[in-house]
């Protein structure tokens, strides 16, 4: 029986994530930290890694990026649930930015 192992897709997504993170950090570090939700030390590490190391790091059977918002209300708002999608989106953005600010302290 065929068992989809998603291995290739995971590796591709991991690599795309790591390369994007590196590019973002190199272009505007503070904004990248906000968007990625990672701490300074991990940011330093990714920023300094060679392409070969990123590829090796991406070859894991586990997904490297992690879901940031384990909050049901926020997830629903992000998906546009509420009276109208635009207001829900704004509400989600306010809560998410607030969480990022609190976590960064």
């Amino acid at each position: 029986m065929d068992r989809p192992d998603f291995q290739d897709d995971i590796r591709e997504l991991n690599l795309a994530y790591l390369m994007l993170a590196q590019q973002m950090l190199r272009s505007d570090r503070a904004t990248a930290l906000f968007r990625l939700g990672i701490d300074e030390r991990f940011a330093d590490l990714i920023e300094s890694m060679s392409a070969a190391k990123l590829v090796r790091m991406a070859s894991s059977q586990m997904l490297l990026p992690r879901f940031r918002f384990d909050d049901e209300q926020l997830a629903r708002l992000m998906a546009g649930e509420g009276r109208d999608a635009a207001s829900a989106g704004l509400h989600a953005a306010i809560l998410a930015a607030g969480k990022a600010a609190t976590d960064a302290r």
Partner: protein
């Protein structure tokens, strides 16, 4: 103003251009750079292709309390708070937060109710302790309120939406961001 370094001046010009591109008024440029008024006028005209609008900046905190501006201002202040928290201050924090604010507006296909000059004024109102952030007792998010307002049972405009809120959003799509519309004030 005459005897400053060329590098500092180049830096000021770069910032002035960025601010004008984002829609800043002359008053903001004059405070945030050390360039002469003549030079700023030339930059403004070169970037926008028109003379800057004349007249005073709005100086009331009340605008930030009306429904739509309050939601947009609260988003901006949460972004701004992140940057000051990680050690980015002054104009840099305002510009980075404003770029992220515009990114959200673009993704949500909504009208930017908050102009850069308004955002800058907002930060100055916070610095002057005229406004503060208060946590909504329902969603836990932080929202812009008057300083010294009682906030122990505060509920934000998004948890307690006034019935007409948001209905004029699509109609507003053709209006300019610099002439925000006044909405009915609730509470």
């Amino acid at each position: 103003m005459k005897n400053k370094s060329v590098i500092e001046e180049a830096d000021d010009v770069r910032r002035a251009v960025e601010m004008v591109q984002l829609g800043a008024r002359m008053q903001m440029l004059e405070v945030e750079t050390r360039l002469s008024r003549e030079k700023l006028l030339r930059i403004y005209k070169e970037v926008r292709g028109a003379s800057p609008p004349k007249g005073m900046l709005p100086f009331s905190t009340d605008w930030f309390m009306t429904w739509q501006p309050n939601v947009h201002s609260s988003l901006f202040m949460n972004l701004h708070r992140y940057f000051t928290g990680v050690g980015v201050h002054g104009l840099d924090a305002i510009l980075k937060a404003y770029h992220l604010y515009l990114d959200h507006i673009e993704v949500g296909v909504i009208e930017p109710a908050l102009s850069l000059t308004r955002a800058w004024t907002l930060v100055r109102f916070f610095d002057a302790d005229l406004l503060q952030l208060a946590a909504c007792t329902r969603c836990g998010g932080d929202f812009v309120v008057h300083a010294h307002d009682p906030v122990h049972d505060y509920v934000c405009g998004l948890c307690n939406m006034p019935s007409r809120a948001g209905s004029s959003r699509r109609k507003a799509a053709t209006r300019k961001a610099v002439s925000p519309t006044r909405k009915l004030v609730t509470t």
